[in-house]
Symmetry: C2
Subunit: 213 residues, 2 copies
């Protein structure tokens, strides 16, 4: 059982693009940041529900497929669930739709308690106001020996990294420099002695770097 993180970042470490708007809720540069991942066959099938077999099948897709393998529980922040979008609407079930791609228990870190949501496809959302270590304990208890993913957003991932709770960090680096936005690496230090680091370049130009404890 390992604690895993996968993030799309730019060369300057931006994981949360700046300037979100109603038209572009993930920020104006989100599409550029995630273009290679969104083009994969796995993303198209698993997240968009496109079963036509369209999409790239190279190195980017191998990482995308690995993303969904062997995970027994997920932890995410309130913003990634979508709590901040309609904070006062108790019927709002986040922006992951009726069939969220997780298909495992998801623990959402928030200061605002809400009843647990149980979706049709194995995904549930339980809302916790706890520390990263406590959330991890809860997630491991239901993961059935499989891995726990810390899904995001950027601040939540940094909290887990700084607490030393992450066993494997995989970043897909889009070869662009965004210049603004929430950066993954701020106040984080990861040296070669603490992790085995591997790097690989995909056909798209995306650079995959993996830190394995």
């Amino acid at each position: 059982m390992a604690v895993r993180v996968d993030l799309n970042i730019s060369l300057d470490g931006v994981a949360s693009p700046a300037d979100p708007s109603p038209e572009q809720p993930m920020g104006a540069d989100w599409e550029a940041l995630t273009a290679a991942y969104a083009a994969t066959r796995t993303f198209r099938e698993r997240v968009l529900g496109d079963t036509s077999g369209a999409g790239t099948t190279g190195i980017d897709d191998a990482y995308a497929a690995a993303y969904f393998e062997g995970v027994g529980a997920e932890i995410m922040g309130a913003a990634m669930f979508g709590l901040h979008t309609f904070p006062d609407d108790p019927s709002w079930t986040g922006w992951w739709g009726d069939e969220p791609p997780f298909r495992v228990p998801v623990f959402v870190l928030t200061h605002v308690p809400r009843p647990t949501l149980t979706m049709a496809n194995g995904t549930s959302f339980e809302f916790l106001s706890v520390t990263p270590a406590e959330a991890l304990e809860r997630a491991e208890a239901v993961a059935g020996g499989r891995d726990v993913r810390v899904g995001g957003g950027t601040g939540v991932v940094r909290d887990f990294l700084r607490a030393g709770l992450v066993d494997r960090l995989h970043v897909s680096i889009a070869p662009i420099v965004l210049g603004k936005g929430g950066r993954l690496w701020d106040d984080v230090r990861m040296l070669a002695g603490d992790f085995t680091v591997t790097s690989e370049t995909a056909e798209s130009g995306t650079i995959h770097v993996t830190f394995q404890r």
Copy 2:
């Protein structure tokens, strides 16, 4: 004729490690940041004067060799020359030694005028108090149709990038996260539409990314 930049940076974009000291004038993390470059046969021969043929000969060395090819003039900041180390000693000729690795005219950006230094091996140091564009004009005038390198440090490179004066930027990214120091990418934005971007992973794990206008 092109304006070229080559820098060693960490995954979090640090090009100037923090906490320089008399024992480690380039910062405590300098060795970790530049280990793959310093291990190349080209670096050992060209910078250290080691003609034994020792050193790595793979992808890192190919970039190191290209570093020294086709450059007709160099521009650097005062700190990279070493002006800040002994600012009041006019006999101090920087820390590049009697045979600096440049072997071409070097223009040092400074607010403190000094007489030009002419070294034995084709290297000269001329001290200018001018804008990046003006320094570039001076460098191009003596480069004999070859490229001009902007050598560093980090702040000088960022000034040239922001002014749109760089035609080719190559970064050697060491797969470590330093967490502090001078960052290359601050206030810089480089999107795929403006440059052709290529990336390649070396045997050492170092990631080479090149932006070509």
